[in-house]
Amino acid sequence: MPAQLNANGGSLLSVENVTKAYGRAPRRFVALQDINLSIRAGEFVGLLGPSGCGKSTLLRIIAGLNPPTSGQVLYRGEPVAGVNPHATIVFQTFALYPWLTVLENVEVALKARGVVRAERRPRSLKLIDTVGLDGFESAYPRELSGGMRQKVGFARAMAVEPELLCLDEPFSALDVLSAEALRGELLELWTSKAIPTQAILMVTHNIEEAVLMADRIVVMDKDPGRVVTALPVRLRHPRQRKDTAFQALVDKVYAAVAGRTEPEAAVSGTAPGQPGATEKLPAARINALAGLMERLNADSGQADLYRLAAELKLELDDLLPIVEAAELLGFAQVAEGDIRLTPLGQTFADASILARKEIIAGRILRQPTVRWVYETLLRDNDQRIAEAYVLDRLRDEFGEYAQAQLDTAINWARYAEIFAFDDDTGELYLEK
């Protein structure tokens, strides 16, 4: 682990052994496990990871919105209890009050801090001016475009002059052009030190965005949410996306996020409810998987994951489950940010629909959850069981993800014609 992770001395904020878990013993779900992280003054940290890795939860714990289950957050050496008054958040969905005008949305942040009316107005107007929204003071958020709304979000955050600015995927709800413009504007404010902010922590699932903006990228993984590595970004601002150094770093981060799956035998695990971990099904539809296989087959059986995502216009979060499914079924292998078809994957891509169903059927019956449902159905007299029963058992294993796991299992099994779900009766039944 790089030395920066445990940096001491000039750190503005440090997260020490933070764990966050929900629920109790059999259904306990660990969102974050033993997180250690520190942020120095003057640093822009990017927090990157697949969805479900708890990065947004970590951000909220750092801001003091949620308490950790164990461990602590130190701000300037003092434990944080309750909402950190020196931190603020810019939200993914902007979190503006739709019934307040642009001006009122900014003003309310100052009002809550007891700034008198006479001072509030000019300060708010100046901030709105700074983010380039002058003329829109009396507009309601619904009259603004997404990019402009987020500008209000930034203006409101800056109104309270935070030392630590937390950004929760602030650009992901914007269109491409607005997002790029806003990134540039934020970077300019930050690098020119036009704002009194001491440090920025940005949660994102966009690798390029992290490489473009951050000084250090902390990579997280899920099940349980944990920090896997941290990569320094030593490129000078303004950074150029076309630079080879930039591209090389993007590839490196991609490899860190996507290239760590393990061989098949090691992950399958035990049936749900049995001792030992059960491997999770990635939330991918078989049709999407088939599309990916065909695409790879046409592309000489191999592709750079990052470029593939860009060409398919898929976000990392959308592509990764499909890649995981391909690995799980033995159709592809991922190494160093590249995905490569296996002979089986190639056969699948070339096969007719009926042959594909057979291949899938053969492969998914090795997966413990699907096999367990299948065997339970086989043992049943009329080969129908209530969904509620299956869900109950799965909940012991997967907690709140049980429904999603079952949905995926049903989607796969339906494709393979192994078992299906009758919505009217709420039962799973064996295909004849």
Binding site: R60, L100, V108, K111, R113, R142, R156, D424
Partner: protein
């Protein structure tokens, strides 16, 4: 008007729980308290003299509106406090929500006799009747508003809450900038529904009289009744006209402007295609005087309130987004209060049971027969209502031009409370064979069909155009068309309309099944008649038995039949 589903609030709970039993017991002991007081109620209660002069109408209209306003103010206050308590504390939520759920399915009008008798022993006559009317309207208005407010509070998006916490809004500022605005839309729609429903109960309260006990109140309701009694057609017309005028005026000068103003509280981030319009609101919004008042008085005043409350709350903890108080142990004071309440409930329940023991077998038989007869009447009225509202609603809802033309008319007609027209109905129907039976079903129909009609219209206009086209392209026969498209698509709307409609019909039975008209009393078999006659005769055991039987029956039907249908509607027939 945009399609709006008048949906009752139905939390997903099992049909019957221990909690329900406790709540029914609580109601029983409250009823016992009322009956206990009622035993010393005066045997003769003199009613007011109602003048039929047209000059008296403005005064009566004012009195009726005043009662409505008082009850509404009470309901709003109750909704805010109760809803807030339920949403903020988990302990409170566990008690308050099931209570609300039973209260909103109880036929409120069944309380009227007990409340009237009880209050008239402790208060002067006029005041008791006034208070009873207000309490009755309150109990008809409060529950859905409360539930709407609670539901809004608990569905505030997490990020808006988190923003409030991270920007350190104190409780008052949070209430003002987040919670109340977020809940405003639902609260206003429910207020309008409550207000419309309130007229029904007000009219019922204003004309209530049994035997020598005349509990009538001077107002539009009693004016209409007196006019019908006297067969005075000009006065009847004048009364109805005054009532409609009041309703239209309130709509134009209160509800439309409020709705237009509240449009900004919509959460949607897209501008609506057809925001609610109000000429009066536009007029006010452009007024120089109001603008000045806003700037010089309202602005500084709210500023002062905000800072005063902020100073008081200074240093108080800013709530974390996640935590909700009440997970821990109850305080000793709460435990003591709970224990006292439990004891009181137990005592009241036991006394109520003792009183019920005095009810003879024939009297119980009467109650049972009554419940059955009323059930039949309610069912008949529902079936009739469905038979005409479903085709009519589809015709209106599927045709934009017709909808634009008929909606306002239907709204005005529907806003006239059925109870106000009841005396007029009697005048027309009582001489026919089975007249009162006919009139009773008619009253139930009048009071309930509108909910169904509105829901069907809303449902029909929500059917996606693509589905209509497909149905047309498939050349389905009319019967097939109904089976494959309209009935499934309308099912959820019919069910929600039906729930409200059946509640209304049960309520109507109290005034519909026993009447005194032109100096003569007439009654049909029915639980409403049993309750009314027991009130008149001072048979308090039977009064309690009838009221309880009615409450339990209705709660039971709601919990089993309607909830079952509602479940099917939510899962099978949801349009996504």
């Amino acid at each position: 008007m945009r399609p709006f589903r008048y949906s009752p609030a139905l939390p997903q709970t099992p049909p019957f729980t221990v909690g329900d039993g406790l709540i029914i017991l609580g109601l029983a002991s409250l009823l016992y308290l009322g009956v206990r007081l009622a035993i010393s109620a005066p045997a003769v209660v003199a009613g007011p003299d109602i003048s039929l002069s047209p000059a008296a109408l403005p005064w009566y209209a004012l009195l009726s509106t005043g009662r409505m306003a008082a009850a509404y103010a009470l309901s709003l206050l109750f909704s805010l406090v109760y809803g807030y308590a339920a949403a903020r504390s988990r302990t409170a939520e566990r008690v308050l929500l099931p209570l609300l759920d039973v209260l909103q399915s109880v036929p409120i009008l069944s309380f009227l006799p007990v409340v009237l008798l009880g209050l008239s022993t402790v208060l002067p006559q006029g005041l008791a009747a006034e208070l009873a009317a207000i309490v009755l309207i309150f109990t008809s208005q409060a529950w859905n508003m409360t539930y709407s407010f609670y539901q809004s509070l608990s569905t505030i998006p997490a990020e808006l809450r988190e923003a409030a916490a991270i920007f350190r809004l104190d409780p008052w500022l949070r209430f003002k900038t987040l919670e109340l605005p977020f809940a405003a839309m639902g609260l206003i729609w429910n207020s309008m529904m409550s207000w419309a429903g309130g007229w029904f109960f007000l009219m019922a309260a204003e004309i209530f009289q049994v035997g020598a006990r005349d509990f009538r109140l001077p107002g539009l309701g009693s004016y209409l009744q007196t006019a019908a009694n006297a067969g005075d057609l000009p006065a009847i017309l004048g009364g109805v006209a005054a009532l409609i005028l009041v309703i239209v005026l309130l709509d134009q000068f209160v509800w439309r402007p409020v709705l237009a103003w509240a449009d900004k509280f919509k959460l949607e981030m897209v501008a609506g295609e057809q925001p609610p319009a109000s000429w009066f609101f536009d007029l006010l919004a452009r007024s120089w005087l109001l603008e000045q008042a806003g700037r010089r008085v309202w602005g500084p005043l709210t500023e002062w309130i905000d800072s005063a409350l902020r100073a008081r709350g200074q240093g108080g903890p800013i709530e974390r987004a996640e935590s909700r108080p009440g997970g821990g142990r109850a305080s000793p004071a709460a435990l003591v209060a709970g224990a006292i309440l439990a004891l009181a409930l137990a005592y009241g329940g036991v006394r109520a049971l003792l009183l019920l023991r005095g009810v003879t077998a024939p009297e119980w038989l009467q109650v049972g027969q009554g419940v059955l007869a009323t059930f039949l009447r309610v069912s008949v009225s529902l079936v009739i209502a469905m038979l005409w509202t479903i085709p009519a609603g589809v015709a209106i809802g599927a045709n934009r031009r017709l909808a634009a033309l008929l909606q306002p008319v239907v709204q005005v007609v529907a806003s006239v409370p059925a109870t106000a027209l009841f005396p007029v109905l009697l005048l027309a129907l009582l001489r026919l064979p089975g007249g009162l039976n006919l009139a009773a079903v008619f009253l139930m129909l009048l009071g309930t069909q509108w909910y169904l009609l509105f829901n069907v219209i809303a449902g029909a206009s929500a059917i996606p155009q693509d589905l209509r086209y497909t149905t047309a392209l498939l050349r389905l026969s009319p019967l097939e068309r109904w089976k494959t498209l309209y009935l499934p698509a309308l099912f959820p709307y019919i069910v929600t309309g039906g729930i409200t409609a059946s509640g209304g019909a049960w309520n109507a039975s109290i005034v519909a099944e026993y009447v005194e008209f032109a100096g003569q009393a007439a009654a049909v078999t029915g639980v409403g008649a049993v309750i009314a006659q027991a009130t008149g005769a001072g048979n308090y055991g039977q009064l309690l038995a009838g009221t309880l039987a009615l409450i339990i029956t209705v709660v039971f039907i709601n919990r089993t039949f309607w909830r079952w249908l509602y479940g099917i509607a939510e899962t099978r027939f949801r349009m996504e």
